[in-house]
Symmetry: C2
Amino acid sequence: MRAAMTLLLILTISGCTSPGEPGDQNPLAAMTVPRYTETGELLRPNGVETWVFVGASIGLGYREEEDGAQTESGPGLIHNVQMQPEAYAHYARTGEFPEKTMFALTLYRPKRNESIARQGFFSGDFVALEVALKDSERFNDGWAYFDLGKDRASAAAKPSESCHGCHAAHGGDDNVFVQFYPVLRGLSRVSPGSPPAVP
Amino acid sequence: MRAAMTLLLILTISGCTSPGEPGDQNPLAAMTVPRYTETGELLRPNGVETWVFVGASIGLGYREEEDGAQTESGPGLIHNVQMQPEAYAHYARTGEFPEKTMFALTLYRPKRNESIARQGFFSGDFVALEVALKDSERFNDGWAYFDLGKDRASAAAKPSESCHGCHAAHGGDDNVFVQFYPVLRGLSRVSPGSPPAVP
């Protein structure tokens, strides 16, 4: 009996069940969640390069003139959007973005005519990391938006008027521009578009 | 003692250790590997939408005139490149692509001026899935290349001369164009480029 108790203890300590496996109580338990400084700034999240990728765009902008948008000298920055795997799985299962969902937007300068590339643009220098996150406990708008630049350790939320209004009015589903992200378009129950990205 | 044995049995059957955790014998054991038809065609891989994303490009081509490359009427197709998480982790750890590494290239038609987009291009309709894979047991060149189109269930490897020669000659690391993928540029030990994508 003592041996059995010891094994049970080992099992408990080692956290045997993987997150998301059948029988797991809360598939979101292992999700990377936003962390804040004492003054309420968002700490730069780690490991976003392995988050689930939902779509890429280039030079995307919402006004006629915008930073990072298309200019006469080039097509604008390449934008990649990724989210935590657990938030993605939750959205696929329920059609809702769970609290603490984070979208990481990584921006790259377009580069051309290098190596054997003769047409088009690939992703050159890393420019900045931006984050959109859902944390209703902390933000009255429900969502907040951060520019962590190339290497800032933390950033304050942008003022409501600079991002939230547009996301709230035009985001296809819960403030998120799912209409621009093919992987989410195929999953959204509010704003369905084309079928899943890779049938 | 019997209780302890029972628990050990449960532990063994349930495969307690997650792949990739310390103490695991083979972190590659859980990796999605290529599957082939009886005639040797590659079966369309499942689940590539959650593979690790390593880079996006637009209209990228290696000849002056190329399918999917930039044209007068638009910037060409958006290309997203993803690989199995276990192959990514192995490359990060060892600098080598393990056998059965697969790169999924998803192609999207660029779309503009929809919803609130006023500048640039986002990813519109899904066009095709292409795969590059490393399987030295099966292919003399080590790597092989497949066009699975929009919804083909399987595809034969392209002839050596249509892809392999160029990948072998110009791929920055082991036939892979790591020079175009910022996340891999930061990890490569052969062809190092810019620092990791998201510091």
